[in-house]
């Protein structure tokens, strides 16, 4: 709501002035000096979802909640447990961000989004951060008003078929039928792969929901089922006729770096989210887990580790000036865990190897910049 026209701005000023009179005691110092219209941040009334407003960090701290765009239908990444709580890899990273910024991993409002409206939710300010299996691409960087951060999962698109279909490579599907839960880049990747193979392109059906793809696949409407390999693994694990009746073919035919995204134009908030995610990677590299973090914090002699956990070294505590508390990494690791713990909790049960998602020291791609 930054670019206000005069009339609504006056109205809003009046409203703000009224609320300021009634609720003075819980407003913090910066609110009182605002003068309502002079600074853009002041028009961002607490708790009010408004587009833009260049101070997401301030809003999150005032509200005491992180609004995280996610989903509820992808076991392993983001789903609901029997009690209705959000569980999964992506939702754990929402908790990581909340633990880093607010010191409380449960201070998250999960906003379940459809694939088609996830960027709109981000653009309009309905959510603060999008952690929803979203591939970082050039077009999205350029036109969706989103800033992608360091990927927290490296994925690639694959193909799944019935085990008894006799299909054992992607090219065997030439001229047949491939189903996807689409509306995104998935359809195009399939078509491009068959073009690259020089094979007759298959008929590609694109459904809006995963459930309908599964129905169509079970009824024999499609021969292939394409999606990111992690999703295929997750769907295969939950397949009603048993995981062994499906086979994921060899070969990955696209790069799908899944990355958290924030709104363009707020680099401060982007850096905060970036370093919250990095903390999980750095913690694994330091061998700090939720189990040993207290012990490490009190007994470690490594200045790098102590600084990372916000402990004083020679009487000084490192505050890199990110806007995060100096001990944010301690909260992240003690409340949610390091990257390996989050992976083992959510993804390993699906049967997916670490692969590219191992630390750089183990031949993977995970590499955190130095914390100093």
């Amino acid at each position: 709501m930054r670019p206000l026209r005069p009339v609504p701005a006056i109205l809003l000023t009046a409203v703000l002035a009224l609320t300021a009179c009634t609720g003075d005691d819980d407003g913090d110092a910066s609110d009182e000096t605002s003068g309502a219209t002079s600074t853009p941040a002041a028009t961002n009334a607490p708790g009010q979802p408004g587009p833009g407003g260049s101070d997401v960090l301030g809003t999150v701290q005032r509200n005491g909640r992180v609004r995280c765009g996610t989903r509820d239908d992808l076991p392993g990444f983001a789903s609901l447990d029997p009690s209705g709580a959000h569980v999964g890899f992506d939702t754990d990273f929402c908790r990581v961000i909340a633990a880093a910024v607010l010191g409380d991993a449960e201070a998250v409002d999960f906003v379940d989004l459809e694939t088609a409206n996830r960027f709109t939710a981000l653009q309009s300010g309905e959510i603060d951060v999008l952690v929803r299996n979203t591939t970082w691409t050039a077009v999205r960087d350029g036109t969706e008003g989103a800033t992608f951060l360091q990927p927290n999962f490296y994925d690639g698109q694959g193909m799944m078929v019935s085990t008894d279909s006799g299909i054992d490579q992607v090219a065997d599907l030439a001229g047949q039928v491939v189903c996807v839960a689409g509306g995104t880049t998935t359809e195009g990747n399939v078509a491009t792969e068959f073009e690259r193979l020089g094979a007759q392109p298959p008929e590609i059906l694109s459904f809006e929901s995963v459930e309908l793809v599964q129905q169509a696949f079970q009824e024999g409407r499609c021969d292939g089922w394409s999606s990111d390999r992690s999703q295929l693994t997750s769907l295969r694990a939950a397949y009603p006729e048993g995981p062994e009746s499906l086979t994921i073919l060899e070969g990955t035919f696209s790069k799908e770096p899944l990355a958290p995204a924030v709104r363009d134009g707020d680099s401060r908030w982007a850096q905060v989210v970036e370093w919250a995610v990095m903390a999980t990677i750095q913690a694994e590299e330091f061998d700090i887990s939720s189990e040993n973090v207290d012990e490490v914090r009190s007994s470690s002699a490594d200045p790098n580790v102590l600084r990372f956990l916000g402990q004083p070294v020679d009487g000084t505590v490192l505050d890199p000036g990110l806007g995060l508390p100096p001990d944010f990494a301690y909260h992240v690791v003690s409340q949610v865990g390091n990257y390996g713990e989050i992976y083992d909790r959510n993804i390993t049960p699906l049967g997916l190897e670490r692969g590219l998602n191992a630390l750089w020291t183990d031949g993977g791609l995970l590499y955190a910049p130095p914390y100093r």
């Binding site: 930054r2 670019p3 026209r5 609504p8 587009p51 833009g52 694939t115 088609a116 960027f119 709109t120 653009q123 691409t137 077009v139 999205r140 350029g142 036109t143 969706e144 008003g145 001229g175 047949q176 039928v177 189903c179 689409g182 509306g183 995104t184 880049t185 359809e187 195009g188 078509a191 491009t192 392109p201 008929e203 590609i204 059906l205 694109s206 459904f207 809006e208 309908l212 129905q215 169509a216 009824e219 024999g220 409407r221 021969d223 709104r263 363009d264 134009g265």
Partner: protein, 384 residues
């Protein structure tokens, strides 16, 4: 303080006030609109989201089945194919729903107990369920489950391949222009013959028998077109799981078309029933007194009067059917709204893309209304 006989002051002059209030309302509405548009523009600009229509020239990055559209072609062409698919299901649906609706509406008033009640069950059953459920059921429950899987496909007489991947029928191979010419000639011939028979009937009183005269001419014209086009046919063949040749009715198209037709026909049937009941009873009694058969009564006396009142509400149903076709997105039918949403998923900016789709639907609906109004004007009672 108005002088007697003079004009009242401006602020009390009804004529001035009327115009002034209208101007104020217009200005307020325009202001709100300008504020919203300005907000979209400024917010988009700040976030670096394009607001123009330049995205139409970007590659679409997704293919469209049954159309030959490839992922390397621009978004513009994808939207065009989406529009064609919307038109295809809407126009076929309107024709089929009209025929079925009139039949069921007439059956609702039949003297036959079974026919009357069957029509009633149909109407009450279908118009009382949500269309979305009907579409999903037509797809999963009928198109995918009732038809055999492709490895056990029916091949009646070796001419067609019927499976839950679609019904593939023999079709012409090439020579489209000649076939089209045949269709045009057939239509013109049928129209001309109908006029001629009408004139003969008017002059001599001999029965028209239009069908008896026109049918051979139409068949001859179509056959000539087909022969001139090279008389080539492709017959579908099943090899493994792949069908080659022929033309295909996909299960997705079948599901959306069947659901739209069944649903809309149940509404049209009620309109037709009401319109028939609005025709005074004396009309059909008079026809009976002239010894017209029940069919002739309906065809020449009752329906022409009933359809006159039925046309405007039927036009509404046509608009509904066209707009409801967007639900085809659920079952992967690539109509206009689905194509737009996939384009947006591939990086087309949401606001201009959806505005374009809305605009196309407005144009489509206005054209449809225009046709219905023309028909209505032609059918309207001519009073002098």
């Amino acid at each position: 303080m108005a002088r007697p006989g003079g004009r009242p002051p401006l602020w009390r002059d009804v004529r001035v006030l009327r115009v002034a209030f209208q101007l104020m309302v217009l200005a307020a509405a325009g202001g709100v609109l300008a504020y919203l548009v300005g907000n979209v523009r400024e917010n988009s600009e700040r976030l670096g989201i394009p607001t123009g229509f330049g995205f139409l020239d970007n590659p679409a990055q997704f293919p469209i089945p049954d159309s030959g559209f490839r992922q390397t072609q621009p978004v513009r062409d994808a939207i065009w194919h989406g529009l064609l698919n919307t038109l295809r299901v809407s126009l076929l649906g309107i024709v089929a729903a009209t025929l079925l609706g009139i039949a069921v509406g007439v059956a609702r008033l039949s003297g036959n107990w079974l026919v009357r009640n069957a029509a009633r069950v149909y109407v009450e059953g279908l118009r009382n369920i949500p269309l979305l459920l009907l579409i999903v059921f037509a797809y999963i429950g009928v198109a995918l489950t009732s038809f055999p899987r492709v490895d056990r496909a029916w091949e009646p007489f070796g001419l067609a391949v019927v499976s839950n991947r679609g019904v593939v029928l023999p079709w012409y191979d090439d020579g489209g222009p000649w076939l089209l010419a045949g269709v045009v000639v057939a239509a013109v011939a049928a129209w001309g013959i109908a006029r001629w028979r009408r004139a003969v009937n008017d002059r001599t009183g001999r029965p028209e028998h239009t069908l008896r005269w026109a049918a051979p001419a139409v068949v001859a014209a179509l056959a000539a077109g087909w022969l001139l086009s090279g008389a080539s046919v492709t017959v579908p063949e099943l090899e493994g799981r792949i069908v080659t040749g022929g033309t295909r009715i996909s299960p997705e198209f079948f599901a959306i078309l069947a659901a739209l037709v069944l649903y809309t026909a149940s509404h049209i049937a009620e309109i037709v029933r009401g319109s028939i009941q609005a025709v005074p009873l004396g009309q059909s009694e008079a026809a009976e007194a002239l010894a017209l058969s029940p069919f002739q009564r309906l065809r020449f006396v009752v329906l022409p009067q009933a359809l006159r009142t039925a046309v405007p509400p039927m036009g509404n149903q046509y608009l509904n059917l066209t707009k409801n076709s967007t639900l085809g997105a659920v079952v992967s039918y690539y109509e206009l709204a689905r194509v737009t949403s996939i384009s947006v998923g591939n990086g087309a900016p949401a606001v201009p893309a959806y505005l374009l789709t809305l605009g196309l639907f407005v144009i489509l609906s206005l054209l449809l209304s225009l046709v219905v109004n023309l028909v209505n004007r032609r059918l309207a009672l001519v009073t002098r």
